[in-house]
Symmetry: C2
């Protein structure tokens, strides 16, 4: 039906002009009569080598359940050489029992690694040390090593050393070992991470008092996520508590982790791929998708983890595509990207 309605104008031209992020509602709106393309449709989120084999892909993909969507994936994923994968909510959902792999993700990671595309894991996980996280994922069947993971705690340690900062830690016990080599005497800053149950009033108040006692209070936050999903439901993330301390102390935190551009850039550098050749896959519309796009990357949001339907209508951030899960994202990447 869509193919018929857009048959009157050159397919390639029309498809190119679509702002991918909102393709679905717009294509649907255009089905009956095919009015002129509205002014807000731009090429802003289209990158790479466009149009190569496009018509063929469109026709082939057009036979699927969402023909317009499939037609566009060739455009969206052209020129991709490297993939950054979020972990929580994409590979697995955490939980008190250790959590569980998301259906299809173990196989998806394995296929991606065999494909020839470069792969790196880019996480804001700040409850578990990197070694423990990788150990957990390997138990679930993922092929992953510690050296493939970009995580905020090691990045924060570099910053602390460079600037002579001695942190008071408001973090989960599980990540404290990452700071073993850091001087923590007579603190001159606070490092906050996803402390989970350790976000007690007492612990928050202690961090607040340390900051209020400093002439130049420095608050370093490992990520600024609003919430994440565990097997038991949505959970408040570090960003909420970062905001609480910012407000109470009248200061602005320095964020180490997504969506900080420095963090994405270090992951890209470690992967050896330029931003315009990389795609981020995550469940956080702001931290993963918006952050990666601001660095010049493309970004897909999975409908797993913390994803909520309203994310697809976020007032500020539009993903370059929405997929049901990592498995679907990898299907599309293997079909359309330049391997």
């Amino acid at each position: 039906m869509i193919r018929e309605s857009i048959g009157a104008v050159p397919l390639r031209l029309r498809a190119r002009r679509f702002r991918v992020s909102a393709w679905r509602s717009r294509v649907r709106a255009r089905v009956p009569g095919g009015p002129a393309l509205p002014h807000y449709i731009s090429q802003a989120s289209l990158h790479g080598q466009r149009g190569r084999g496009f018509y063929r892909q469109l026709v082939r993909a057009g036979t699927g359940a969402r023909p317009g969507a499939m037609a566009e994936w060739g455009e969206r994923l052209a020129g991709v050489h490297g993939v950054l994968l979020d972990i929580s909510g994409v590979l697995y959902d955490g939980g008190e029992d250790g959590g569980a792999a998301i259906a299809g993700s173990v196989e998806a990671v394995a296929r991606l690694k065999r494909s020839g595309l470069k792969v790196r894991f880019c996480t804001n996980e700040s409850q578990k040390a990197r070694g423990a996280l990788v150990g957990l994922l390997r138990q679930m069947g993922f092929t992953i090593s510690e050296g493939e993971v970009t995580a905020p705690a090691p990045a924060a340690c570099l910053i602390l050393r460079e600037r002579g900062l001695r942190p008071h830690l408001l973090v989960h016990e599980g990540i404290r070992s990452e700071f073993d080599q850091i001087d923590m005497s007579n603190p001159n800053c606070v490092v906050i991470a996803d402390a989970g149950e350790d976000f007690s009033y007492q612990n928050m108040n202690k961090a607040f008092q340390v900051l209020m006692g400093l002439e130049n209070p420095v608050l370093i936050s490992l990520g600024k996520g609003r919430y994440y999903k565990e097997t038991s439901g949505l959970k408040l993330d570090v960003g909420a508590y970062m905001r609480a301390l910012e407000y109470a102390c009248g200061i602005k935190a320095e964020v180490v982790g997504k969506p900080s551009p420095e963090f994405f850039k270090s992951a890209l550098k470690e992967m050896g791929v330029d931003a315009h050749q990389a795609v981020m896959i995550g469940d956080d519309i702001v931290g993963d998708v918006g952050g990666a796009q601001r660095c010049g990357m493309r970004a897909l949001q999975v409908r797993t983890g913390k994803f909520r339907p309203s994310d697809e209508h976020h007032p500020e951030v539009k993903a370059d595509g929405y997929v049901d899960n990592l498995a679907e994202a990898v299907d599309l990447l293997l079909l359309h990207s330049d391997k």
Copy 2:
């Protein structure tokens, strides 16, 4: 010295043009040569009947330790008929042992009440029910009754009833009784107050999950204070946790209590005094001073409770005067206001 340096121009004119809030640094800066008054000095924070007996007061007050300051109090307090008193940090500092009256405050309240000025207590206290708070203050020697206190919990109950809202409460045990008559089945909003130690991760997460489960999440916050002072030190106040939930849920809380204009107006109405005839005395530069000024009142900040020296250089709010404590404020009021 100051009197000599400003003797060359009409005293009344120069004094009037001072922005009271910054009198001290500016008067000091002008001492040696008396340059022209800078453009930023305005009458913005001066109210009421100016100049009546002003010269006499200036000369008399000018013999004190801070002559310029005393000279101005007559201006600042002219036309005051009613006084709103903050409680925590002005009358007493709370604490786990029940807290302690601030030196001179018991006598100051008694003198104020005998003076003929109208007096009302305007508090954001949200850990204790109004009856318990008044009982505690009376034990300390204050002359105060429940009917003289404007507090956020009763105001919130009015709103809940008016709008058919059924709250999930994130509050301290001590104030739960204020909501005894409110339907709390199947919650369609969250009410947050200063929960103190009850701001556990579990309780915060529960409130977060209630809000995320609502189609139109409503968060009502009893005040939005950043912190307050107890005998053991500074403590995080409800505002920090309100910000955490706002950020996590992507919503904006409705604040019941200072600095909400509706709250100040209800206190003024209950006192029977117009805003321009009233002065607020508090320890919170934003919640007490800024809030009252935005309602057309004058406001003094005491250097007790949560006061910090940096408050006198707040980038947005300038009090109509800073006093060491309530006792000094009452001294000045009895000397200069219209009783």
